[in-house]
Assembly symmetry: C2
Homo-oligomer: 466 residues x 2
């Protein structure tokens, strides 16, 4: 018995006349008046299902084949034939249809073969992988993750698994999830009535990480080129299509690098992973372009084909102020740009990805490297047409005196950052990095509007089902 | 200016006489009586440091070069020359030595160039990446992670990021970390005085995952071949060299597969990643074989060269009972094997990796597939010489009635598993998978004894520093 994955059958890896066995789930079944059933079977190996043509001469035709419904699992053996129908080049002339698993009460099967809303599918996160859209998202997500790892590996970067549980807060201000094993009905107390975290699992108050950056800097300052790719967390009460409480981040960090090096790395990386997805997942991308967002493919091609435009924050503010467009939020030097401003710059003013650089010091994190102008820091955002900010990065302040000055100005306790300061006391080097939210990347690539639909099991306020 | 990574210089990618610039950290400096300094510089791109030969004719020779100490960061330009010394084929005749960062008080620099204990290095987890051993561990860890992703990708598996925060407990009995944003000083209460988790971020009590298996099964039952590679957690109060509170797991899951398919997949995967590390990280592996464990290389080669031996649990018990060896724990059918038993089987009885199969039902998890004998389940452990259990897996119970029977016997609430049961109600398929603790794999490959030394920032009871 030659077991075949459907991808290989459809790609013509078997000769017409070969007998193969495919295993998967029924997408649809249609019966002809002539006593033939056409069963579409998917196994997840590619977007398309294969059609198995089952004649009524099969011994279980009346008892089983004509009772097959969407979602049933089957093992079908047949001979490969050229397909008379449209769409596919090959089909199977079934000689045996074995039913492995029925669908209990097909009338109430939640994944019935019709168009479901994304909200509905989210309620069935355990069954939505069987749909066209979630299957396609999953394959594209996988392709992007692999391409990210490959991109960095080829450039000599090492993957560093920074800690998930931490006792520090990288941004100095995040909204944090506490991690604890304390018995809530019997909390230990200190003498002055506070919760005694000395009794907790880690001996102090611990949280889920919001970023691996500070940790991964320790590896960049020893191994030069490193990156993280792992989950991060925000306990923000944001019920938007762009926020998740749990999401995956990619954070490269490079020794002896400056902001322009990071801008180039970000551009190279995005182009690399977009090329990978257009080459490797043409089937799924065609589906997204047809059904979700007609620009899904052209948008990526546009990014690949164009140089990213570098622009100073200060120049951007001037452009926005002079452009004659009315924004909901006014623009002035010293304030953060809003999504409407970012999208205007990338989509209307430039028409290509824009890398905004050198932001006002006072709106940025303590670790960003101060520029000589005394007002700005070497920070950048990559703004992509159609989504806005997709990457944020900076050169890190490698000069101990200037780092300490910022810690003091921002009332951050130096003792808490002693290990981070050590990197500046012992062989400090200029270094820089950036962060990319992986789900925002997947949403951008697929055109799927809500970030909850591009991660297998989304976590958001009041929702950690499954 | 041609920037060169040290790996390329030592590998002869530049011609003798080429001028290149390397950037990194000083490992050692030695001055000759003739007024020449030999500076060993590492940049993390390979195990070895490159030697830069700095003559006293350099303008900053007296002021700076002879003051260089371990850990200082430098940018050195020089011409590539054949090395007269032993070990390396190439060195740099320095024409410029720029000091980027000094070491504050070299006498107290924690990473002074001498042999430190692993315990000592753990206290300086932010600086230990600069040591030979942590550098080598990091590169090998990276190589193994990449090889794992590549292995699965080449075989058509999709990477699935199963959730980190969950409201269910995969094993039905784990020791869990609670994830919460409740104010501990002001806990909301239900009418009967219990903590009201409806007020918590996720609207119910939430935990860190102990395994992605149950979640990833939902994707296997749609996309056929999938795997997880992500962090998992155990709130066990175990201070051993084999336990971490936070560690990374690899969990493939395959539709239409049985236990023997998983045994073959586990064998293929281990051999694949071992080959990768021997080929790609020969430099680091040579170090481990020389300094940490003289069998580091031969052990991997032995696994690669030998077929894994399959053995039934029942037969193993008989072998252990009859072998004439005295164990600390007695062996009897129906009890779990101890490490001493596993190691005897793999190291002494067989002398190769052993796959033990078909364990007593009553010592295994509810989801494992029941064998026809009514006593055992289709579970396996892969036992490797020198470490014992490295992989655990099973076929999953795909028959709803038998799954329900186990849930009832083990007093697990059916409602909690309704989504898991749905996979058996709608087109169920035989499927199987296994789990591999990534840090145990890295420890096995490197010979490093304590698992805390093969993860960047180990988390264990009373320890979540950095």
């Amino acid at each position: 018995m030659t077991i075949a994955v459907i991808k290989d059958v459809l790609a013509g890896k078997f000769a017409v006349g070969d007998t193969v066995t495919v295993r998967g789930w029924v997408r649809t079944r249609r019966d002809s008046k002539a006593g033939i059933s056409f069963i579409n079977i998917h196994d997840g190996t590619c977007f398309d299902a294969v059609q198995a043509v089952a004649p009524n001469t099969l011994s279980n035709y009346q008892n089983e084949v004509v009772r097959l419904t969407t979602g049933c699992s089957v093992v079908v053996t047949g001979t490969v034939a050229e397909s008379a129908g449209q769409g596919q080049a090959f089909e199977l002339q079934a000689t045996d249809v074995e039913v492995i698993g029925w669908v209990e009460d097909p009338d109430t099967y939640p994944m019935a073969p019709k168009r479901h809303s994304m909200e509905y599918l989210r309620e069935f996160a355990h069954l939505r992988p069987r749909t066209n859209i979630t299957g396609a998202v999953t394959r594209v997500r996988h392709c992007l993750a692999q391409a990210v790892h490959r991109f960095f590996h080829e450039r000599g970067f090492y993957w560093i698994s920074t800690p998930i549980i931490t006792t520090s807060d990288a941004e100095g201000a995040g909204e944090l999830f506490r991690v604890s094993t304390l018995d809530l009905m019997n909390l230990p107390r200190t003498e002055n009535g506070q919760v005694d975290f000395k009794e907790d699992f880690f001996g102090k108050e611990a949280f889920l990480t919001v970023s691996g950056q500070l940790n991964v800097e320790t590896y960049a300052c020893a191994l030069s080129n490193v990156y993280t790719f792992g989950p991060t967390f925000r306990a923000e009460n944001s019920n938007t299509s762009r926020h998740l409480a749990e999401f995956w981040m990619i954070e490269p960090e490079v020794a002896f690098a400056d902001l322009n090096d990071m801008a180039a790395l970000a551009e190279d990386m995005l182009k690399y992973v977009f090329r990978a997805v257009l080459e490797e997942r043409a089937d799924d991308m065609a589906f997204f372009a047809e059904r979700i967002d007609k620009e899904a493919i052209s948008r990526l091609q546009h990014v690949i084909d164009n140089d990213f435009v570098h622009m100073d924050y200060t120049d951007a503010v001037e452009i926005l102020q002079k452009c004659g467009k009315t924004f909901n939020y006014p623009v002035s030097w010293g304030t953060d740009l809003q999504s409407e401003h970012e999208r205007y710059l990338a989509e209307e003013h430039v028409g290509a990805p824009v890398i905004l650089k050198n932001y006002p010091r006072d709106i940025k994190a303590f670790y960003m490297r101060q520029n000589d102008d005394g007002k700005t820091v070497a920070a950048m955002d990559v703004l992509a047409p159609g989504i806005g900010e997709i990457i944020g990065g900076s050169a890190r302040e490698e000069r101990l005196d200037l780092l300490d000055q910022r810690l003091e100005e921002m009332n951050l306790p130096k003792e808490e950052y002693s290990w981070y300061r050590d990197l500046r006391r012992y062989g400090t080097v200029p270094h820089a990095g950036f962060g990319l939210g992986f789900e925002r990347l997947v949403a951008y690539v697929t055109g799927v509007q809500n970030i909850r639909d591009v991660i297998p099991f989304p976590r958001s306020p009041k929702n950690a089902e499954f």
